[in-house]
């Protein structure tokens, strides 16, 4: 029992709700929101410290012991992701302070961002599959509102699509939970895992696992990503950055959790399907990233590629590839937030996101240009930046397990990703300036603080990988050996 486990949900929820009551005081809202993100970060760092010395931390809510109550389970993977989610939310909040329009500021954008963080953290930490559904809905409801906030024509249209797809996916999720409950008679993740391991993963259970894979494939953008580029390019830049960094990653996390903890007995079926879906996702995402000439579209397709890449590591499911997936997941949350923030700033400065109409920005925004270049390299996994280590470990695992075709596909798509982001860099920063006198004054200063914060993390994670690696290794332990997780919850 450890009460700190609940703080990453509790702080953003309580402070987020309290912000609803001070709608008129924007400045005060900004202060409280930033403090809430920092406090969440502090709590999750404390949690990481405790987990690294004492092992997995469990909180049985209301004193009801597992498997009867709902536990919150903080293993190292969940704690790392909670910490990174808080950092990313903090950066997006800083970005939003400068870039979000008046019409959104006045309509609860900050409380909604905090409640989104609460839903994300809850999904990472919960140890109960129905509770996972509830936290998913908390996250999705605030994302619906954030997506439609401002009420532009494109935004409303994209929200309609997004909401229909997500309601159908959530319904399928509930169906899968119902099936799983009728098979195993429990909702506790650890308990389900134990029962599936005892009774063997028969055909029925595997079918349910594939239904869950479909659900989270929809939410994470694994192969079923047709909705993603539209809805991630519709909202304003800070919200798009938050979505790109957090939403799909929660789906990825749940796929990792489900297929390492519960459905790990029939890898020749489930993991093979994950592998092929991941490969298709990478190929299709990379084609999309190359094909478009609009910054927002290109970046949205990059989100898709990285989802495929992380799940390639999950499909291989060796020590090295899982460590790579965890490392790359952390890297990708930071790097995606960074590149969406910088891309949003480019669009803001240039006044358009059509690449053919932007040129020569480096004359007026040199720092923005170099930051963008750095993050482009990080995204493609150029050493010594943080993307490299994750990619290296995943590829190492893939080649050791003799998935040569997949490894080749992922290397090829990395090059295509590099091309797509460098295309943005070359087109928008090089060449003659097209900006007129008035437009040059629109500042990008608000991006520099969150930009430098995240860029420092990208460089730091790359150079300081030795310091970070023990945490990743500890995060991988319960993934490779689910017994550790089960014992921590049920003992």
């Amino acid at each position: 029992m450890n009460n700190i486990v609940v703080l990453p949900l509790f702080i953003p929820l309580i402070l987020g709700v309290s912000l609803f009551f001070i709608r008129k005081h924007i400045r005060l809202q900004q202060w409280i929101a930033a403090l809430a993100a920092l406090a969440t970060l502090a709590a999750s760092l404390m949690l990481m410290g405790q987990i690294s010395s004492e092992g997995i931390q469990v909180l049985h809510m209301g004193g009801w012991e597992a498997p009867y109550g709902i536990p919150l389970v903080a293993d190292m993977l969940a704690a790392i992701l909670v910490a990174v989610a808080s950092i990313v939310t903090f950066a997006c909040l800083l970005f939003a302070f400068h870039f979000i329009g008046e019409e959104r500021k006045n309509y609860y954008v900050y409380p909604l961002m905090l409640i989104l963080l609460c839903g994300v953290n809850g999904s990472f930490l919960t140890g109960d599959i129905f509770n996972l559904f509830v936290f998913f809905e908390v996250m999705l409801l605030s994302s619906y509102v954030l997506l439609s906030l401002g009420g532009g024509r494109v935004q409303l249209r994209e929200t309609v699509k997004y909401i229909v797809i997500n309601i159908v996916a959530s319904s399928l999720f509930v169906i899968a939970i119902a099936y799983l409950y009728s098979i195993t008679g429990t909702l506790n993740l650890a308990h389900i895992a134990e029962r599936v391991a005892e009774n063997g993963q028969n055909g029925l259970t595997t079918t349910v696992s594939l239904l869950l894979l479909t659900v989270f494939g929809l939410k994470a953008g694994l192969f079923l990503f047709f909705w993603l580029p539209g809805s991630y390019s519709a909202p304003s830049a800070p919200i798009a950055a938050l979505f790109a960094a957090l939403l799909t990653k929660v789906g990825v996390y749940v796929i990792i959790r489900m297929f390492t903890l519960i459905f790990n007995h029939q890898p020749q079926i489930t993991h093979t399907i994950i592998l092929w879906l991941a490969a298709l996702t990478m190929i299709l995402g990379a084609i999309g990233a190359i094909a478009y000439w609009r910054i927002k579209q290109i970046l949205a397709y990059n989100v898709v590629v990285s989802v495929g890449f992380i799940l390639f590591g999950v499909g291989v499911a060796t020590d090295a590839s899982l460590a790579g997936s965890v490392f790359y997941l952390v890297h990708d949350m930071i790097a995606k937030a960074l590149i969406f923030i910088l891309g949003g700033a480019v669009v803001f400065v240039a006044g358009t996101d059509r690449l053919r109409e932007i040129s020569g920005l480096i004359r007026y925004r040199p720092i923005l240009g170099w930051l963008f270049f750095l993050s482009a390299l990080a995204l493609a996994g150029v050493p010594p930046l943080s993307g490299f280590i994750g990619k290296f470990l995943i590829l190492q695992g893939g080649v050791q397990a003799e998935h040569y075709i997949m490894a080749a596909i992922s290397l090829l798509t990395s090059l295509m990703v590099l091309y797509s982001v460098i295309k943005i860099f070359i087109n928008s920063f090089w060449g003659e300036s097209l900006l007129s006198e008035g437009e040059q004054k629109s500042s990008a200063r608000g991006t520099l603080l969150p930009g430098f914060l995240l860029a420092a993390l990208v460089v730091g994670l790359g150079l300081g990988a030795d310091i970070f690696m023990p945490y990743v290794d500890q995060a991988v332990e319960p993934l490779v050996n689910p017994r550790i997780y089960i014992d921590a919850v049920l003992s």
Binding site: R157, T159, V160, I167, V168, S170, V174, I177
Partner: protein, 112 residues
């Protein structure tokens, strides 16, 4: 009883999917609503409907209904209620902004 409820759930799924695939926003929302109701009925009936007693346990209860699915659908109904409310408002706003509730005509020129 369970077989009957399964058929009801299946009918709800079918009509829900049919409505979701139609072109009017209001029908789509109705479809989503029916679809989630189908899910709820399935969830309710999946562990047996009539077990001969209420879901209250005494010391030596001979029979009882499993309370967990009922707790689950209660939560799920609340969530789907709020989602329906939100999507109705969204559909209204979309109709106001675009001047149409036909999804075919919502396709904009903004996308290349």
């Amino acid at each position: 009883m369970e077989i009957l409820m399964t058929i009801v759930a299946g009918t709800l799924f079918t009509s829900g999917v049919y409505l979701i695939l139609s072109k009017t926003l209001l029908r789509i929302i109705m479809g989503l609503s029916l679809f989630t109701h189908g899910v709820h009925i399935m969830l309710m009936s999946i562990n047996g409907l009539k077990r001969g007693a209420a879901p209250l346990l005494e010391e030596q209860a001979a029979s009882y209904t499993d309370p967990v699915p009922q707790a689950l659908i209660l939560t799920s109904i609340v969530i789907s209620f709020s989602l329906t409310a939100f999507s109705l408002v969204l559909a209204y706003r979309t109709y106001k902004e675009h001047g149409t509730d036909d999804v075919e005509r919502l396709r904009g020129q903004d996308h290349e």
